[in-house]
Symmetry: C2
Subunit: 382 residues, 2 copies
């Protein structure tokens, strides 16, 4: 019986994780849950999974929940998140908090020796070197939950990294694959949220439309697989059937495919090194008929170039890019800026950043705060 | 330095094997070569690779070669093939003799404890249970050289066979993919030999056009991976980029891809468990643009159904199917029968066969001889 804590249990990944666990009650126990503020869904999860501890980031929401559930231990604030992440007896922490707030709890979980099923890519985007060196030091496994990284992880399993020539991440191209650069100027949040293949949260849906999500995944892959950035490529593959691939030095490519459903990578992260049966329906390629591929157009997806620039600049730059993007996406969702302005805000913020090494979590958080502030000003100037 | 013997060195696989070896002279020594009758190419190979021993199956051709090369040890006949296959000091035998004559030398090589790089699928089609139990007994590795089985082998590497739900072999569909069943009646040998993706020998090119080649590969996979026939599927994939795939119990599919070039699987069979660098050019999916898939039409490709029937009948039936097919393909190539008649000759021969267990090589060879005789009669009756 493995004890699991889920950071972000009411989000898309969190809910899918609980669904996978509910089919394997003999193998897993949900020991703790942490959420931002959605206490109505959390209440249902408490009733179904009976965790020992829950945490709600939002103090007011935590207060409301405490009144209605006097028998459950309910923590709150950032310390509540950290307490759940480091709880005694928990073996695996599913890290699925959206965005930069996921960094500190994830890092604390690693320091506490917990294995990580990692969906919060920001932990690696913001502080990849810190997170990975800490994981190495503590002998902690970090199993990716992203479909792309899970694919790479599965393709690399049992193989020698020295023989890897390239990791190629696939990208659906999002809802605007067929739109011109010109047409992108006037797209609405509703259009941008309408992802063709994946049903995801808002932030990641917008990031998929700009391809910033793929850029963040490039950074994540760089750290997760300890591979230089020039060995990571991106290809557009609108059907989202091949989730990513690895090319070896002999020219042989190993790819991982499935129907697009997050329960696949979530299940693998929990079952690894084994596999659970009947997680996803069998892939029927004859029914799908064709898989198509194209190189991404950098003029249309400037976010992709920004991420390569950020990785090459190193230090705090990826963290700054990520923070500026969070502000810009929020501004787009609340219709303060246009879709194409998202990348502009990010690149303007990056242009003003003086790169620091980012060897402490404080330096990283301060760079992130600076970038949010500065990006907010660029939004307001709009 | 690994000592290599090649059975069938002047065929397509043999020549490609020597090309791979010529790039890795520091790792391999060509100790022995065996061919059917092509002594002019063999002479060039002797000059370039300086083997200790060669064998020519055809006695007259061997005699001609002996006169011109008095300093080389030149064996002949079936015993010559066996002597090369079992030569002292050889570690790996590349088994690449076309068709049923490859069986006995391959089996003898296994008995002599040689690792096998296996291209001669007939060894497993005719006597899979004998060959595999012998290999198990001697602790011999059998590494597939077929692109499909090499793909499956690469996808399975390091993974638990218990977690395999299905092996899916891809088939290009051959040159007649777009032709109707009606149109197939009048196709010529020249048209059938014109394979869209692979440059191969005549026999295998015709087998690719009928899909009998894929059927033989299903049988080969059954033995090579010790997997029940109902877990082996076939899908048409005209571009021959995905060479085969494995579906696991969780719905995750691992696929192997590359540009279609036999040097890929040959190189892997020689370098395994490592990989050589720069064997094939990098796969550029954006340039290829699309990969398509369809289920094979059994009315158009009856050979595929025959092979499943043969496996289900078991014992000597796959061997009989293979032998009858060899005769039928020869008859088609010499324009004695039509293209669609190939499968008819095979199925008529199979219908008359009384299945034996095939527990001895003698029983298998006698079933094969019977089938060739009977298939010849069906050809003549045409």
């Amino acid at each position: 019986m493995k004890n699991i804590a889920i950071l972000g249990s009411t989000g898309s990944i969190g809910k899918n994780t609980l669904e996978v666990i509910s089919r394997h009650r003999d193998k897993f126990r949900v020991t703790a849950l942490a959420v931002k503020n959605n206490v109505s869904i959390l209440e249902e999860q408490i009733a179904e999974f009976k965790p020992d501890v829950v945490a709600v980031f939002d103090e007011a929401a935590a207060g409301r929940l405490r009144k209605k559930n006097p028998s459950v231990k309910i923590l709150s604030g950032e310390q509540g998140m950290i307490d759940v992440a480091t709880l005694d007896g928990v073996e695996t922490v599913v890290s699925a908090i959206v965005g930069s707030p996921g960094l500190v709890p994830t890092l604390e979980a690693i320091k506490a020796g917990k294995d990580i099923a990692l969906a919060t890519k920001e932990a690696l985007v913001m502080a990849g070197h810190l997170v990975m060196s800490e994981a190495l030091k503590r002998g902690v496994s970090i199993i990716p939950v992203d479909s792309e990284h899970s694919a790479v992880f599965q393709c690399l399993e049992g193989r020698d990294m020295e023989e890897v020539e390239k990791i190629v991440l696939t990208a659906s191209g999002g809802p605007f694959l067929k739109k011109s650069v010109q047409e992108l100027m006037n797209v609405t949040p509703a259009e941008a949220l309408n992802h063709p293949n994946w049903n995801m949260g808002k932030k990641i849906s917008i990031d998929s439309a700009t391809l910033m999500n793929k850029g963040l995944e490039v950074i994540e892959a760089r750290w997760l697989f300890n591979i230089p950035v020039e060995k990571i490529g991106v290809i557009l593959h609108p059907q989202s059937i091949i989730h990513s691939m690895v090319r070896f030095i002999d020219g042989s490519v190993i790819a991982q495919m499935s129907v697009p459903d997050m329960k696949g990578p979530i299940s693998y992260a929990l079952s690894y090194p084994e596999r659970f049966s009947n997680v996803l329906p069998p892939l029927n390629l004859a029914e799908i008929k064709e898989l198509t591929f194209e190189d991404p157009d950098i003029n249309k997806y400037p976010a992709l170039a920004l991420t390569y620039n950020a990785l090459n600049a190193g230090g705090t730059m990826p963290c700054v890019m990520n923070a500026a993007n969070e502000i810009a996406v929020e501004a787009f969702l609340s219709e303060k800026i246009s879709f194409t302005k998202i990348s502009r805000v990010v690149s303007d913020t990056m242009a003003e950043h003086k790169v620091m090494k980012g060897n402490t979590i404080e330096e990283i958080i301060s760079a992130s705060e600076w970038a949010k502030q500065r990006a907010g000003e660029f939004v307001d100037k709009n």
